[in-house]
Symmetry: C2
Subunit: 200 residues, 2 copies
DNA sequence: GTCTATATCTGGATAGAC
DNA sequence: GTCTATCCAGATATAGAC
């Protein structure tokens, strides 16, 4: 996080360029120019271009993982926890300079190279799935397939980035809307999603 | 659609390669090899590489547009129409060989070049928004912002492609799950989403 | 640490023979 | 229509001076 750390500076610039130009179109020259270095100077900090991508990818799952870990150990009924997760996740995603889906796709095409990413991602999925399962068991959620529901939650969180960029809005407002709709579709008939939303 | 049409063959191969390698990594040489031509022979059919991309992009909005046009003029309450839209859209997306989100992003970075795409996209958004608005008016949907809801619906439809590819499942099953959750979060308290789902 | 210079490669695109 | 040959631009990466 140190402002003077060149590696950190490069990664911040890389995130910005990934968002503007796309990952593939972000070349070492452009990246170097962005931080005021010569093209070849980047190789002092990174072995190659892929290492820059890998360094950014490594951070992609940190926020949602910390978020859900904090929630499962906290208080509240399952729908409330899920609401908070979705809202926090969407809000964090909307704040990223680059598109998580693009990272996702690149990591998907090189599964072994990004093995760490996929492990964390699988862990996130497991945590979310078991949270949903708990909700189905205690009756606060409908009787849906927890794995399918978990995947759908993550999908809509990430999909939101796609249109958020096209039509910028206050991130919190978007996050609340997505959470309300997504979790509203999961709660058991007796439970009022609006009450959950105002409590969260 | 003619099997012997070289242009059609190239586009089908392009879709496949876009999915496997990504759009940027799909070169004219690879594409030519895929259809059994020399690299330069492609230039007989397409002026340049972007034209291949544009030809595929042009088709991206056709299915969901036809889908919603058919629904708005048909029978049924709004939630039922929305359920059918989401299910149909997700099912179609899961059947595509390439990732619509990648196309989306490429078109987003060159708005003027893909002006047609964005016009159709805007039309789709308007149709969906007004369908949601109708539902809010007649009380079959909750009192949510129609524009925000419409965007969220499209986002989760498209986001689904992201994980569907990672963990392949029967497309219809996935589509039903997404539709049930998404529309379930929109219907007014009195309406049972399970009833809608079984009717659809 | 950062630079200049350079080797090497790959892809897009055109010209012109067949 | 499809090919071969070729040009050109841009990108990765390394070597070695400062």
């Amino acid at each position: 996080m140190a402002a003077g750390d060149p590696i950190e500076e490069v990664l911040i610039a890389a995130g910005r360029l990934f968002g503007q130009l796309g990952v593939e179109a972000t070349t070492m020259s452009k990246l170097a120019a962005e931080v005021g270095l010569g093209q070849s100077s980047l190789y002092y900090y990174f072995r190659n271009r892929d290492e820059v991508v890998a360094a950014l990818v490594a951070r992609a799952n940190v926020v949602p993982l910390e978020l859900i870990e904090g929630l499962v150990h906290g208080d509240g009924i399952v729908p409330l926890k899920l609401y908070r997760f979705v809202r926090g996740d969407v809000e964090a995603l909307c704040g990223l300079p680059f598109d998580i889906n693009e990272i996702h796709r690149i990591a998907g095409r090189q599964r072994d190279r990004f093995a760490d990413y996929w492990q964390e991602r699988a862990l996130l999925d497991r945590r979310l799935t078991s949270l949903v399962r708990a909700g189905v068991r205690d009756g606060s959620l409908r009787d849906i397939d927890p794995r399918l529901a978990s995947a759908t939650i993550l999908a809509s969180d990430e999909g939101t980035q796609n249109w958020f960029r096209l039509r910028p809005q206050p991130a919190r407002r978007v996050a609340d809307a997505v959470a309300r709709i997504t979790i509203g579709g999961l709660v058991a008939p007796g439970i009022d999603i609006d009450e959950i939303a105002s409590e969260a």
